[in-house]
Amino acid sequence: MAYSEKVIDHYNNPRNVGTLNKDSKFVGTGLVGAPECGDVMRLQIEVGEDNVITDAKFKTFGCGSAIASSSLATEWLKGKTIDEALSIDNMDIVEELALPPVKIHCSVLAEDAIKSAINDYRVKNGLEAIVLEKSHH
């Protein structure tokens, strides 16, 4: 199976690899997936004034599509408000990266990571966690 050019680009030049201070109250951290399943994503957001995401970082254990999905997610997150970020759908990632059906779970994981990071931020700041639909992938 050949990877799409966009997957290869994100894989070779991953955007925003790194770690933000998970103890900061401006930082939300999402850690999703499981080593047994072959993919784990950690996605972090830093939120500034007006709920705007000022920075996003990721680290991913997984295949090329998983790495590309999380790299793309961080790219999209920067500059978005939290509400805008919540509207990112896994199918947007599938479309942008031209993921084949067997790799859709990678995009689902990225969406989960975004929502999980947002929830972590919300809880830290005294807000209620958003109830997430249980995704199956």
Binding site: M1, C37, V40, K59
Partner: protein, 403 residues
């Protein structure tokens, strides 16, 4: 485009130019049907087949009449297991095999279970070898066949075939082995090893794809299998179908070359493999999978913890290898062979198989080491698990969101 370095010789091997040369006339001027008994075209083709049969027999220490040509090892496995089950069903219905077998054996056994067979799938020890006591304990008066592979395709371990066949015979069962990875790589002698049926294939030993053979013992005991392909009664009635003459000639030549070069080649390849393996094993958190004493000379299977195999292969695009991770399959299940060794799923997902071959050079190995080290380090920089490991976090204590 520069070709990647090919280190996937357990999947298939390139055709040796000497094999191709032997095959070529049989596509063109020597095109006859080996079953045409009444003219020179047929005789010439038959001669080619007969000579190949001798070359094959010589490699595995049998007589020419015991070699049945097939389309490959999968067909030979099917013919052996289904053929024995049907032929000996009055004697019993029990078959013993192992969890680490190739799918051609496992799925054939599963198929027979639907037709009344009882199959025992033996587990293996941590090093991938069969537990002989467990095998013996599984033998029953109804056991008609023990089918255990010679050398494993994923980790390269060599099973104690002599001991296994002795146990099978002591209980009156036949011993069959899928020797696809072993024949041509290490000395295999059907008499010394007590083998009654043996499947193997040309394309794993520098021959062409689409041709293989089943060895069927004719003496002590005389083994019979029912044919799985009916028709003109070729191959002593066990496998009908016009013989693939160029392929068979290629298999014969491949066997001859392996017989002549195996000894020095095994020394050369195991030295290269050991260099690759010991260097990579010096990397932090890398683990060699399978028994390292009893194994094929050209295989190394290594897990690089905290990186995922498929992602790793993508980072090593200049290297053609394979991984025990199967992120593409719907189930996301990693290699069942590695799991049978008791490897945790995450280590199985992190495994890379290196299969060296006749055309692998020391330069290739040096490059492979460099490429692997670079890729593993790169992916560990991207890996949250590596970061957590480095921070001293116990990953087994984390509640992962299973998906």
């Amino acid at each position: 485009m520069k070709q990647p370095i090919y280190l996937d010789n357990n999947a298939t091997t390139p055709l040796d130019p000497r094999v191709l040369e032997a095959m070529l006339p049989y596509f063109t001027e020597k095109f006859g049907n080996a079953a045409s008994r009444n003219h020179a075209f047929g005789w010439v083709a038959e001669e080619g087949v007969d000579y190949a049969r001798e070359q094959v027999a010589k490699l595995i220490g049998c007589t020419e009449k015991e070699v049945i040509f097939t389309s490959g090892a999968t067909e030979a496995d099917n013919l052996a297991i289904k053929g024995v089950f049907e032929m000996y069903k009055d004697k019993g219905n029990h078959i013993i095999t192992a969890l680490t077998e190739h799918k051609a054996v496992l799925d054939t056994c599963k198929h027979l279970e639907k037709n009344g067979a009882r199959v025992t799938y033996l587990g293996v020890k941590e090093d991938g070898l069969i537990d002989l006591a467990a095998l013996e304990a599984a033998m029953t008066p109804e056991t008609i066949l023990v089918s255990i592979m010679y050398g494993n395709n994923e980790i390269g371990v060599i099973q104690p075939v002599k001991e296994i066949s002795a146990i099978a015979h002591r209980y009156g069962a036949l011993f069959m082995t899928d020797a696809t990875q072993a024949v041509g790589k290490i000395p295999v002698d059907v008499n010394a090893d007590g083998i009654d049926l043996m499947a193997f294939s040309a394309h794993k030993m520098y021959g062409p794809k689409g041709v293989g053979a089943l060895y069927v013992r004719r003496k002590n005991p005389r083994v019979k299998v029912t044919s799985q392909m009916d028709g003109g009664g070729h191959e002593r009635g066990m496998r009908s179908g016009t013989l693939n003459v160029p392929g068979i000639v290629g298999l014969g030549k491949a066997c001859e070359l392996c017989r002549l070069e195996m000894e020095s080649e095994a020394v050369r390849l195991s030295a290269l493999r050991d260099k690759l393996e010991s260097t990579l094993n010096k990397m932090e958190e890398s683990y060699v999978n399978g028994n390292t004493q009893h194994r094929l000379p050209h295989v190394a299977n290594i897990s690089f913890k905290y990186v995922e195999g498929e992602g790793l292969m993508m980072a090593m695009s200049d290297l053609a290898v394979s991984s025990g991770s199967a992120c593409t399959s719907a189930s996301l299940e990693p290699s069942y062979v590695l799991k049978s060794l008791g490897l945790s799923d995450d280590l199985a997902h992190s495994s890379i198989r290196y299969g060296l071959g006749r055309f692998t050079t020391e330069e290739d190995i040096d490059h492979a080491i460099e490429i692997t080290q670079k890729a593993v380090n790169h992916l560990r920089e991207l890996s949250p698990l590596w970061e957590m490991f480095k921070e001293g976090i116990d990953l087994s204590k984390i509640e992962w969101a299973e998906h």
